[in-house]
Subunit: 221 residues, 2 copies
C-alpha cells in the first residue's frame, strides 16, 4: 500500500512536470507569435490550451483518487494538496500564454507591439520560458536550490516589467493610447506567468522541506 | 465521528462566508478610496489585507485537519477540496481590492480616474461588492439558484469592462497615456475580482449538486 502510494505520487509529479513543459512551450510559441505577428503559431497556442486544461483535470482527479483511496496524513497529505494547487497555477500559466496568443491574433496582420518595446517582450518571454523549465526541473528533481533560482528570474521579470512601464509612461511615448493599453496588459500577463511559476516551485520546496518559503503569491503592482 | 465531521464542515463554510464578507468590504472601501481620493480608506484596505491572508491560512489549516483526522471520501472529500480552492480565490479577491487601494494611495492627493470614466468604476465597484455578498449568501444557504444570479452579475461586469475599453480606445481620449494605463489595469482588477467570485459560487454549486457548472475560470480578454 505504502509502495503503491509512492508510485502514484511519483506519477502525479510527472504529470505536473509535463504541465510545466506544456505551459513553457505555450508561452514560447505565444511570444514568437507576438513578436513575429505569426498567425499560425497564435492559432496553435489557442488550439492547444484545452490540452493544458485537460491535464489539470486529470492531475486533480488523480490527486482526489489518491486522497480517497490512501487517506494520507501529515507530509503525504500536504504533498497531494500542494500538487492540486500547483496544477491550478500551471493551468493559469497556460491561460496567460493563451491571452498573449489571442492578442497576436486580434491585431494580425499588424504587429501588436511598437518596435520600441519588442526587446522587452523578447526578454520577458525568455525569462517566462526559463521559469517554466526551471519549475519542471524543480518538480522532477525536488531540487530546493534550483527553486531559489526561480526567485532571481522572477526579480528579473519584475525589473523588466517596471522598465517597460517607465517606457510607456514617458511623456514622449509616440505610439498612442491603444498601443499603450495592449502593452500594459501584455506586460501584466508575463509578470503573472512568472508569479505562478514561482508559486509552483515554492510548493515543491514546501513538500521537500515541510516549510513554505514566504507566501505563494507575490503579485506586486 | 460523522456528526463531528458535519459540525466541522459547517465551521469551514462559515469561515469561507466570512472571507467573502471581508473581500466584499475591502473592494467597497477600495472603490470609495479610488473615487474619492480618500487616503485613509486606502490605508485601511492596505492594512486589513493581512487579515484576509490569515483567514485563508486558517481555513486551509482547518481543511487539512479535517482531511487528516476524518479521511473523508466521495462527496465529503470533494467538499473539503472545494473549500480549499474557494479560500484561494477569496484571498486573491482581497489582493485585487488591495491593488485598487494601492493605486488610490499612489496617486493621492490626485484622483486616479478621469471624471469621464468614474461612473464605470462606481458601477464596477457596485457589481463587485454585490458578487462578493452573493457568494457569501450562496455559501451560507447552499443556494444553487442564487449561484446562477452571479453569472448574470459577472456578465454585467464584462459589459462594463468592454465599454470602458472602448472609451479608452476612442481616438479622442484626452487624458493621456498614463491615465489610460491606470484605467486599463484597474478595469482588469475589477473584472478578475468578479471572475473569482463566480468561481467561488460555482464550487459551492458543485458541492451541493455534485456537478461543476462550466469551468471555474472564465477570464476572457
Amino acid at each position: 500500500m505504502r509502495e503503491a502510494y509512492q508510485v502514484e505520487l511519483g506519477q502525479l509529479a510527472d504529470e505536473l512536470a509535463n504541465m510545466c513543459a506544456m505551459a513553457g512551450t505555450a508561452m514560447e510559441l505565444a511570444t514568437r507569435a507576438l513578436l513575429e505577428a505569426d498567425l499560425g503559431l497564435a492559432e496553435q497556442v489557442i488550439g492547444d490550451d484545452a490540452k493544458i486544461d485537460d491535464a489539470r483535470s486529470a492531475c486533480e482527479e488523480h490527486a482526489y483518487a489518491l486522497l480517497a483511496l490512501q487517506a494520507p496524513v501529515a507530509t503525504d497529505l500536504r504533498t497531494v494538496l500542494a500538487a492540486i494547487h500547483a496544477a491550478e497555477s500551471l493551468e493559469r500559466m497556460g491561460d496567460l500564454a493563451l491571452h498573449v496568443a489571442k492578442a497576436a491574433r486580434r491585431r494580425h496582420p499588424n504587429p501588436v507591439l511598437p518596435e520600441q518595446v519588442r526587446p522587452y517582450f523578447a526578454e520577458m518571454g525568455r525569462v517566462a520560458v526559463e521559469l517554466a523549465r526551471s519549475a519542471e526541473s524543480v518538480i522532477l528533481n525536488q531540487d530546493v536550490e534550483k527553486a531559489r533560482s526561480l526567485e532571481e528570474a522572477d526579480d528579473e521579470m519584475d525589473d523588466l516589467h517596471r522598465h517597460l512601464f517607465s517606457v510607456i509612461m514617458e511623456k514622449d511615448w509616440p505610439h498612442g493610447v491603444a498601443a499603450a493599453v495592449d502593452v500594459t496588459l501584455l506586460g501584466r500577463f508575463y509578470e503573472r506567468f512568472a508569479d505562478h511559476a514561482v508559486s509552483v516551485a515554492k510548493r515543491v520546496v514546501f513538500v521537500v522541506t515541510g516549510r513554505m518559503p514566504g507566501y505563494a503569491d507575490d503579485d506586486e503592482l
